[in-house]
Amino acid sequence: MAIMEISAGDTAWVLVSAALVLLMTPGLAFFYGGMVRAKGVLNMMMMSFVTLGTVSVIWVLYGYSLAFGDSWNGLIGNPLQFAGLQGLMSPDAAVFTIPSLVFVAFQAAFAIIAVALISGAVADRMSFGGWTAFTILWATLVYFPAAHWVFAFDGAAAENGGWIANDIKALDFAGGTAIHINAGAAGLALALVLGRRLGFGTKPMRPHNMTLVMLGAGLLWFGWFGFNAGSALGAGTWAGLAWVNTLVAPAAAILGWLAVEKFRDGHPTSLGAASGVVAGLVAVTPAAGSVSPVGAIAIGILAGIGCAYAVGLKYKLGYDDSLDVVGVHLVGGMIGTLAIGLFADPETPAAVAGLFYGGGLDQMWRQAVGAFAVAAFSFVVTYGISLALGQDHGSARHCCR
């Protein structure tokens, strides 16, 4: 929909941001690849790379239309409206001040990374063919609807958008709900259906290459500036605020995570620093445009401490979330999404006041409804997809000590 005149500056920034976000998926491959054992590093990285293949193709064919086509009751976009990106190549096709195709490119990178994040929950045991099929089914049945609920604003890409963005009015600046809570809940469901790795809880399964993990964390942080600041969809104050918040929240989260390790284990570790970066980035993703930099520091500390404790839950509860997708993305996403209800600052361009800024609990319940609705939807549908694909290859599971 053409709403405003296209801005060259905004367009350039979002194009660069799209490339930055796309770099996050190879960065994730390094991050996850270093954390698995040496005998599974290639498959771990391949899970991210094949996701680049599958999701990019279906995004163009029907994914964008499902996510951003005209809404059916706020639940799903019209799959035929933009199928094959028809109608979006006209110079008049625009989303706010950028061409529609630039918005397509930016959101494509989001869809890819959302799916790839799940792979960390099922490291070392999920078949490559099964994963490839899963990426297509999950993107179609879970991500595209959730992205529609959260990202599709009335009058932006189409006349009518999703129910969380327009009816509930929960704030999710760059995808804390649609991407991180969504992927985290899906990772939990998939890990439960798949079962634990052989030797989980009895044999050490340490990261085989921490230098890859640190490289991956660095690439993720770099790309995340496009993820968050690009979500302003313009080159202005809002992008600047998101950029600064994307700097300070993970910075604070590193300190929070390392403090927990020092207090609990006696040693601050490189894995803790890298995980702290990601936890802070995840938590500030929904909040980057609605909290002040001081609020972002508070959110980063909460995420660093909260996620450092949350990653230990899998041992207590017995599920094998191999690379802590649940502990970092589900928990970190929840912390960031709910913290908006506390720290939202009316002086930011979002102009919403949280509890600490005199807004009461009005924004908090909106955040909670959005977050838990997406988490429940993602968990249930992912569980169903996983069961439908079949848990086992059919071979004996007891051949090896």
Binding site: G33, R37, A38, K39, G40, V41, L42, N43, M46, V122, D124, R125, M126, S127, F128, G129, G130, W131, A133, F134, L190, V193, L194, G195, R197, L198, S386, L389, G390, Q391, D392, H393, G394, S395, A396, R397, H398, C399, C400
Partner: protein, 45 residues
């Protein structure tokens, strides 16, 4: 379809089982895939 590899494949390593590749070639040079073909290998009895 089956989402999970067999226990034997999981035990032996999913890289070899699913892709017939290994992330690292740490074998001695004579057995390495990077060995120059003209270089003679070690004699065996």
């Amino acid at each position: 379809m089956g989402l999970r590899v067999t226990a034997a494949d999981e035990h032996g390593g999913i890289d070899l089982a699913e892709h017939s590749e290994a992330g690292y070639d740490l074998s001695p040079v004579y057995y390495s895939s990077y060995r120059v073909q003209k270089t003679p290998g070690p004699r065996t009895r």
